[in-house]
């Protein structure tokens, strides 16, 4: 449904994306995972026909996004990073205008606007001015305009950014629902978001695709490096590090300013042996917690994995 080949974009001399190639099949939810500045928005803006690529090509449902722009654009629902809203309109007027711009005519359009507002839970606010809505509501209105014309392809640029945890859950649930029968490309810089929603993950960094995998395979590859943070009250990080180095399940230990970071063995959970050691030393255990991998860690690992794999070949 989405086909991208060798897509490159320069902003002046700066290369924002570098010969990207990927595809998304009908019915798939594909996650586009990468840190700020990776090139996610740039890629999506090319796919939606907002701007042309410098090199390469992309098609939506077989239509070239540049050569057959109108056909391609008609098949896309787009939610940009900052939801563009006409604040002086009511929710209903806004979604109706967007539907009309996407070629929907009456009769049928008004009913569809009602239906879609109901779907995103905004029907009771249909006559409210957009200016008066909370951020979570605006995001839902943004989703409503993206799906109102029943597009084959949905492109969502960081749809949960800036929302509180409850709103994030709601919006994710909505995306899962509306993504059931269409192709969705979703960008985010949160790993857990793509693991929950997507059937396939594209990891992008510095304008290049670093890895492409299903969430399950990806987390397998990442499992080797479960990390824990350990904070002891009455011993220096150096002493602690010395004591637990070599304990069962611990593969590496790094003393830091506040405590000790433990890199766990992939086979054995190090926590029982570590706590036993601490008890034996009569130290005060203040904290022992799992450390989420940052995106940087993931990239570091995936890229070194790849490099190692290439060397082995």
């Amino acid at each position: 449904m989405i086909q991208v080949e060798g897509l490159t974009k320069y902003y002046g001399p700066h290369k924002a994306i570098d010969s990207l190639s990927f595809h998304a099949d009908a019915g798939e939810i594909v996650g586009f995972l990468g840190p700020n500045g990776a090139g996610k928005t740039t890629t999506m803006r090319i796919l939606t026909g907002y701007m042309p690529p410098s090199e390469g090509r992309a098609t939506i449902a077989g239509f070239d996004v540049f050569e057959q722009s109108l056909e391609a654009r008609g098949r896309i629902g787009y939610l940009p990073e900052t939801v563009p809203l006409y604040k002086e309109l009511t929710v209903w007027q806004y979604v109706d205008y967007m539907a009309a711009l996407r070629g929907m005519g009456n009769p049928g359009r008004a009913e569809r606007v009602d239906e879609v507002l109901d779907r995103v839970g905004m029907l009771d606010r249909a006559d409210s001015l957009i200016d008066s809505l909370s951020k979570g509501m605006r995001q839902r209105v943004g989703l409503a305009q993206a799906i109102v014309h029943k597009p084959d392809v949905l492109i969502l640029d960081e749809p949960t950014i800036g929302l509180d945890p409850r709103q994030v859950r709601e919006v994710r649930e909505l995306i899962r629902e509306v993504g059931e029968h269409r192709t969705v490309l979703l960008s985010t810089h949160i790993l857990s978001e793509v693991s929950q929603l997507c059937s396939r993950i594209l990891i992008i960094n510095n304008g290049q695709i670093v890895a492409e995998d299903s969430p399950a395979t990806l987390s397998n590859r990442l499992q080797d490096t479960t990390r824990y943070f350990l904070h002891i009250g009455n011993a220096t990080p150096k002493e602690v590090a010395k004591a637990i180095r070599g304990v069962a399940g611990v593969s590496e230990v790094y003393p830091t300013e506040e405590g000790v970071e433990i890199v766990a063995d992939s086979q054995i959970d190090p926590r029982p042996a570590v706590t036993a050691t601490i008890v034996q030393k009569s130290w005060d255990l203040l904290e022992l917690r799992h450390v989420d991998m940052s995106l940087e860690d993931i990239f570091l690992q995936l890229t070194t994995d790849e490099a190692v794999a290439e060397e082995e070949d």
């Binding site: 026909g49 907002y50 042309p52 900052t82 563009p84 005519g105």
Partner: protein
Amino acid sequence: MPNIGRSFHNLWTVFKHEFSVYFISPIIYWIGAGWLCLAGVFYSNSLGFYNQGTYEVSMSSLFSPMAFLTIFIAPALTMRLLAEEVHAGTHELLFTAPVRDWEVVVGKWLASWAVMSSFILVTFLHAGLLIWRGSPNIAVMITGYIGLWLVCGATLAIGVFASSLSQYQLVSFMISMGTLVLLWVAGAVSSLISNSLLSEAINQLTITNHYHNTMLNLGLVDPIDVAYFVGVMALFLFLATQILGTRRWRA
């Protein structure tokens, strides 16, 4: 044929949206009232002369200041149209919708023209009064209306073009007002130039030459004058569309 149907749908959609947005803010009524009242002051002054029997009764003295005041009114009505879309980020949806750039430009321009036309409609009151109480030259009145309407369309097209140049409304206001002032004063400048060919060429570019000298005062509709106004509209709407296109390339 389906292309024409689609263009019509898109033009109508953009037009309807923009036209209704104009009337959300009360400022529009102030602009309309300001335009009509200011021109009305000139008009009633001249009516004083008529009463003394100096001039023939005519609406030219209302149309003339109305046409002149488009220097301010047209920029005020158009400055928002494209600039604000970029400023607010809403252009990202507008220009990724299956709508052509020219349909957006023309739809917005038509909406501004419709707003100005509805202000002009108010002056039908004056016209009715004149016809009822006096004996104006109806032909001159009609061509005066046609000409004023064309002046509005042309000056609004210049305003739409200026609105495509910047994301700041004030900047686009200044650009279109500056351009319009030039088009008005060019006539005064041309009379100072001794080279008759150059002076005539500049004169041909001015609004006064194509409105005041024919439609406004003589009741004449010269195809050349109509072509001038239609040409100005087409040129500036075309340029605005091109600017939107190059914005994409630079984005």
